[in-house]
Amino acid sequence: MVSLQNVSSGYNGQEIIKDASISFEKGTITTIIGKNGSGKTTLLRTASGLLKALSGKVLLNGRNIKEHSSNEIARQISFLPQTRITPEISVYNLVMHGRFPYMGFTRISQEKDKKAVEDALAKMGLAEYRDRNIQTLSGGERQKAYLAMVLAQDTDIIFLDEAITYLDINHQFEILNIILQLKKMGKTLVMVLHDLNSALTYSDRICLMDKGRIILYASSEKIVESRELERVFHVNCCPVAMDGESTQYVFTLKKD
């Protein structure tokens, strides 16, 4: 489990997130939402150990994350950034890179690494794409390939930065359903999303941020009830019951 205690963090000594305290619960999906520049990605990077906190503590399984080696962290936390360099490599080799934290000095993959890669490819439905150059894949297929790499990394905690941005609606649903599958496997998922409806629909907990501070950390229903969402984004939020079962959320811009 990852938790932050009074963490301030940012770049070049400048604070972007201030005094953040939060605990991401095991086996849940938490989505961080907020306006552009509110510190969502900074929070994600700090919680994953990629960005050092300026003050406060980040705890990984009860121990300060600074006390863990980079390899130890990589075996427990995976992070998929929003912007990535896409090298000219096959899907199989990309997914094998997920096994890097488990490889020895020789960097030679063992049987268990190959099995983890095959499992990840099968779970993502990418077995037939294994020899394809990832640069030739569509945005949705490429995202699945990167998720397969994350799956092969076999960590309990997964951080995803805007995993469905730039994807068409079908691929968005596909990726979100994969995220639900990962949760069913017992993984803890923390992600940044701009699509408020998807965030409220697919998450167990929502972390609402504004100007570098965590405003609310609660379930979707409580977030909507609090009307903080409407204040922060300056929108009206209207829950709509679909098929008498699930609830979707429609947003309109406030007119004042």
Binding site: S48, L50, I77, I85, I89, H97
Partner: protein, 347 residues
């Protein structure tokens, strides 16, 4: 269809061949052996096979064949192999680490940095000329770090690396020219050094550089898989547990060692480090675990044959091998720029 027909069919289609690195390695090892043989036998004085055999098994130090083979052809051949493999691996490493297909020792200012320090030693401290490889390495390392930090501070885009390389090369080149203007009688032939070549190379020149080149090549081979991880970008590499900053520094040091050591005996050879890694990727794909050793192999073969051309093209006159490489490298660089533009346009 025999194996050769299959090979050339695959080469021309450019598809399946990448799955057969063993065949490609065998072909280029064969070419390397042929290149070494031709490099020893060809030149202003032809050496026959029987003369080679007699030098090997009945050495007569007073014979002309013995002296030519031992003091001219063998050092020259070793120099070509080392320079080709060293600069090509340096290019492959730099292209991956800086994530820039246009990066190579001469493009990003490494040659200029090495050149400056070699000229400094030759002009100001000629009695320490034996430390030329160390000076060349320091110059290469300073130039790499300077370009790297300028590019990082100005946005770290692919173009920023190339442009800062050009700026650093130009600035350092001006310092070198100033030194040569004030001290025209330096201990090195400046024109020969600037163009690059292997004529006059002796085992003494190579011997000291070997201590740097061989460990640097071994380091690059061992860590070649890490280049694959680095090519995913810093953030992803770090999330996979890699100490990206440290590994990048090790690779930059390795590239500087390779380039600096080669420059110390071969001069400012250009474009091998640019062309050869691309040729290797064309043949065996983008897995750096293969690209690095294949760059070494292809670089050796390419340099050996360029040197042979330099010797026989206008025989009995010899042109510096650097000229041949620049003739081939200039158009190739332009081809790469067009290919990048095409990729941007067509996605």
């Amino acid at each position: 269809m025999n194996i050769w027909q299959k090979f050339f069919t695959r080469i021309s289609s450019g598809k399946d061949i990448r799955k057969h690195p063993v065949i490609i390695a065998a072909v280029f090892l064969g070419l390397l052996v042929l290149g070494v043989f031709l490099s020893i036998t060809m030149g202003s004085v032809r050496i026959t096979i029987s003369e080679i055999l007699s030098v090997l098994f009945r050495p007569d130090p007073s014979s002309m064949a013995y002296r030519i083979i031992t003091y001219i052809r063998v050092p020259r051949t070793i120099a070509a192999v080392l320079a080709g493999s060293g600069l090509s691996v340096a290019g492959a490493v730099l292209q991956s680490v800086l994530n820039n297909s246009l990066a190579s020792p001469n493009v990003i200012g490494v040659n200029a940095g090495s050149g400056l320090f070699v000229i400094l030693i030759a002009a100001l401290f000629p009695s320490y000329i034996m430390f030329t490889p160390v000076a060349a390495f320091i110059g290469a390392m300073l130039a790499i770090l300077l370009v790297y930090f300028i590019a990082k501070l100005t946005g770290a885009s692919r173009m920023a690396v190339v442009l800062s390389g050009i700026a650093v090369s130009s600035f350092i080149g001006a310092i070198s020219d100033t030194i040569l203007t004030i001290w025209p009688d330096t201990a090195i032939n400046h024109v020969h050094f600037a163009v690059g070549g292997f004529s006059g190379v002796t085992m003494d020149h190579i011997g000291f550089s070997l201590w740097f080149i061989i460990p640097a090549l071994i380091t690059a081979f061992i860590l070649s898989y890490d280049l694959n991880i680095l090519s995913l970008g810093d953030e992803t590499a770090r999330s996979l547990g890699m100490k990206a900053g440290l590994i990048r520094f090790i690779f930059l040091t390795t590239a500087a060692l390779l380039a600096g050591s080669v420059i110390s005996f071969a001069g400012l050879l250009g474009f091998i480090g640019l062309i050869v890694p691309h040729a290797a990727r064309f043949l065996i794909g983008h897995n750096n675990r293969l690209v690095v050793p294949f760059s070494a192999l292809l670089g050796s073969v390419f340099t050996l044959f360029c040197d042979l051309l330099a010797r026989v093209l206008f025989a009995p006159y010899e042109i510096p091998v650097g000229i041949i490489m620049s003739f081939l490298g200039g158009p190739f660089f332009i081809y790469l720029l067009f290919r990048q533009r095409k990729r941007r346009v067509y996605g």
